[in-house]
Each structure stands twice: as structure tokens, then as C-alpha cells.
Symmetry: C2
Subunit: 222 residues, 2 copies
DNA sequence: TTCCAAAATTGAGTCAACTCAGTTTCCATG
DNA sequence: CATGGAAACTGAGTTGACTCAATTTTGGAA
């Protein structure tokens, strides 16, 4: 069943993805012709369309690798012990933004977002939406954990708060990639200020001593 | 200086915009060929490009008309008297979403958003960003007014809260237009729940009597 | 080893957005 | 009125993403 054929397939796929990632970063997404990717990957233009439905799918495949890294490092962050709600959320945001430009340029992000908006029902539109859902769930998971640990008041709707925070992060990320001038520091400090008005009011000032944490008894106001 | 030439220009512009709006709604943005718009408007394809840089700009011009209406009716809403913070914000959101599909289909919104993301520095990308800024300012303006009226606690950072609310609205609007199945009611109730966790905590339970309102003395907690 | 059917690749061809050199329309001036 | 030239229009041509019929490659059965 498998053998040389599968190997060649995987090889070609890797070559195409690598060539595309390199060219997109150097010449930009718009500035990169499919034919150039084909040349660089030593295949014909038609072959690229055997692996990816269109130019955009190629980009979104690269984005997916990137976001999966962000998700993994976000999960690690959540697993740590946290001293304060605001610091924990700020760091999750920093993790999100600092990873974002490692493999992808702002221009690439703009195009990836545009594609996922334009074609939400295409295979990769669905993948992209799934990545967003995972990120939103991660924010909710952090708040849930902090609620159990006693850093968030027990009567807080953590799903609502998590979605509010995530949607704000996501919108600010959109603004960030739309503006070449905006730095990671700029956007993180803006976000921190925006979140403060919420987080300050749902936080509990003093965490429970560690031996009581994790029992989900963290109710406070009647 | 002016005369027949100017008149013809204005006529043509109107015809192009009208033809485009009609065709975009009936055949969809993707399904509409520039040549068909040119035919319907009785001009050549080249002429369309004298008025609009590209197909997307044509769409964004239509969106801009729509958003200006939303802004006008939002301003009217803010000017009214309000009984509660949550109701006031819920109605502003309803105004936003209910207007949104009067002239534009979800597909048109998806493309308009995609274009503004892809080309933030093009003339109409700038227009679109300006519209967003106005909408965000409107939310902040509402909170400011309610703070002066005594429905919002005096120590609240209304800019932060307004931006948080607007960014949530905008992200939920994106989700709304991405999903053909989601109704206005669906999205409004989701938003209302998300906002509750914030608004509940920054609201003051009893408004000041009317003769004291507007003095911006609405401080509460030390 | 030989040969076949399925899988995969190929690149010339198609389609639609956008361009630009040539043409027409308008208006200010004598 | 004529006329020169600026402003606007025109549509055949260009460009680049994407397709598909023909060709090549592969795995394994005889």
C-alpha cells in the first residue's frame, strides 16, 4: 500500500509548504506568484493544486502550524501557578502576540484573516475558525482555573468573561496586524488597560492558601 | 469650471454605484462581473476604474453609506433618556445589528471586512477603519453620558469599558456575518450575556433624581 | 521481468480583474 | 463661432490564479 509513492507525496508537500512560507515572507503574499512557488518546490503549478485548493489554503496551512504552537505554549502557561488574575491574563496575551510574528509577517496575517472571513465554509475557513474557538476556550479555561484557585470571585460567569476577553484580544490583534507601526508593547499595554476595568472587578484580592486551592469553594459575596 | 462635465460625472458615479449595489445583492459580490456592472451603468469597464480603484472599493463605498446611517441612528439613541445601563447598551447593539442587513447581505459584509483587513492603507481601507473608530467612540460616548447621569459608577474607566464592549460587538458581528445560520436574535442574546459580567459590575443600581443628573458628581465607592 | 490500472504530475488553456494608448467630449478663450 | 487642449471615456490587451486532458510514474499481479 504505502512506500515510494507516499514518500514522494510527503516530500513534495513539504517542499511546497517550505517554498511558499519562504516566498510569502520575503516577497509578500500578493507579491508571490504560484509559478514561483512551483519553481522553488520543483513541481508544476498544477501539482500545487493537488495539495491545496488555492493560494489561500497554502497560507492558512502555514498559519495553522503557527497557531498550534501558540495553543501549546498557552496550555503550558495556564498549567503554571498564578499570583494574580491580571498578571495571568496579561501573560497569556503576551504569549499570543509574541508568538504571532515568529513565522508570519503582518501582511501574511492580514491575508489569512481576510481569507477566513471571505470563505468561512471552505475547509481551511473551518480550520481557522476552529483555531479561534480553541484560543477562546483557553482563555475561559484560565479563568475557570483561577476561579477554583480563589483568584476570581465565585459568582462570576467565566464563560462570558472569557469570551469578552478573547474577543477583545482578537479584535486588538486585528488592529495590530493592520498597522505596521503598532508594536507588541503598544498593543499589550492598550489591552491591559482595557481588561483592567473588568478584571479588577471580578478578582478576589487575596488568594486562598495553597492547601485549600482547587476545591472550588471560592465563593465570596453572598 | 463646473457645468455639463461635472453633471455627467456625478450621473455616472451614481449609476455605477446603483448598478453595483443592485447586482451585488442579487448575484453576490463574487458572482458579479465588472463588465456586468459596466453594462448596467452604461459605461465601459475602464470608466469604473476612473471612479473606483478596484472592485472592492466599489463595495466599501456602499458599506460606508450603510454605516453612516447606523452612526446617525446610534447618535439619536444615545441622546435619549436611559433607565438602565444594560438596556441602553443592549439597544445600541440591537440598532447596530438590525440596520446591518438592510442594504447589505452577509456575503457583502464578509467581502467588505476582508478587503479592509487586506488593504488597511488603501483609501477605502482608511474610510472603513474610520467608521469603526466612530462606532467605538459612540459606545464610549454612551457610557460617558450614563456616568454623568448616574447609571455608571464614577470610578469607571469608560474608555476602557467602551472599547471592550465595542471590540466584543465587532468580533461578534464578524461571527454573525460568517455564519448564515446565526440570526440577529441569536447574536444579541449572546452579546447581552457576555456584557452582563462587566455591565452589572460597573452599573449603579439607582439613578440619581433627574435634577441632579448631568453634574458629573456621580462618584460612589471611595 | 513484464505489463496494467490507478495515482500523480504536467503545462498550455481559460477566465475575470485590471491597464493604458488612442479617441471623444467638454469648455475657455480669441 | 472656431479651436486647442484638458478631462474623461473606451475596449482590446495584459496578468496571474486556477483547470483539465494528456502524459508519466508507481506498485504489484502474473
Amino acid at each position: 500500500m504505502t512506500g515510494l509513492r507516499e514518500k514522494h507525496k510527503a516530500d513534495r508537500d513539504r517542499r511546497i509548504l517550505k517554498a511558499a512560507a519562504k516566498l510569502f515572507r520575503s516577497a509578500g503574499y500578493e507579491g508571490t506568484r504560484i509559478e514561483r512557488i512551483a519553481d522553488a518546490a520543483d513541481v508544476s503549478t498544477g501539482t500545487i493544486y493537488n495539495y491545496y485548493q488555492n493560494k489561500g489554503d497554502l497560507l492558512v496551512a502555514i498559519v495553522a502550524m503557527e497557531v498550534n504552537e501558540v495553543l501549546a505554549s498557552g496550555a503550558q502557561h495556564i498549567a503554571k501557578r498564578h499570583r494574580s488574575l491580571r498578571a495571568a491574563v496579561d501573560r497569556l496575551a503576551a504569549n499570543y502576540f509574541e508568538h504571532s510574528l515568529v513565522y508570519l509577517s503582518k501582511e501574511m496575517w492580514r491575508h489569512a484573516m481576510a481569507i477566513s472571513t471571505r470563505q468561512p465554509d471552505s475547509p481551511f475557513g473551518i480550520v481557522y475558525a476552529g483555531l479561534d474557538t480553541h484560543l477562546a476556550e483557553q482563555v475561559v479555561a484560565l479563568l475557570d482555573k483561577l476561579q477554583k484557585t480563589g483568584l476570581v470571585a465565585g459568582d462570576v460567569d467565566t464563560t462570558a468573561a472569557g469570551e469578552l476577553v478573547f474577543n477583545n484580544l482578537n479584535m486588538m490583534f486585528t488592529n495590530f496586524v493592520k498597522s505596521e507601526a503598532m508594536t507588541v508593547e503598544d498593543v499589550l499595554s492598550a489591552i491591559s488597560r482595557q481588561h483592567r476595568v473588568l478584571l479588577q472587578r471580578i478578582a478576589l484580592p487575596h488568594p486562598l492558601p495553597r492547601h485549600l486551592a482547587g476545591r472550588s469553594l471560592a465563593r465570596t459575596l453572598p
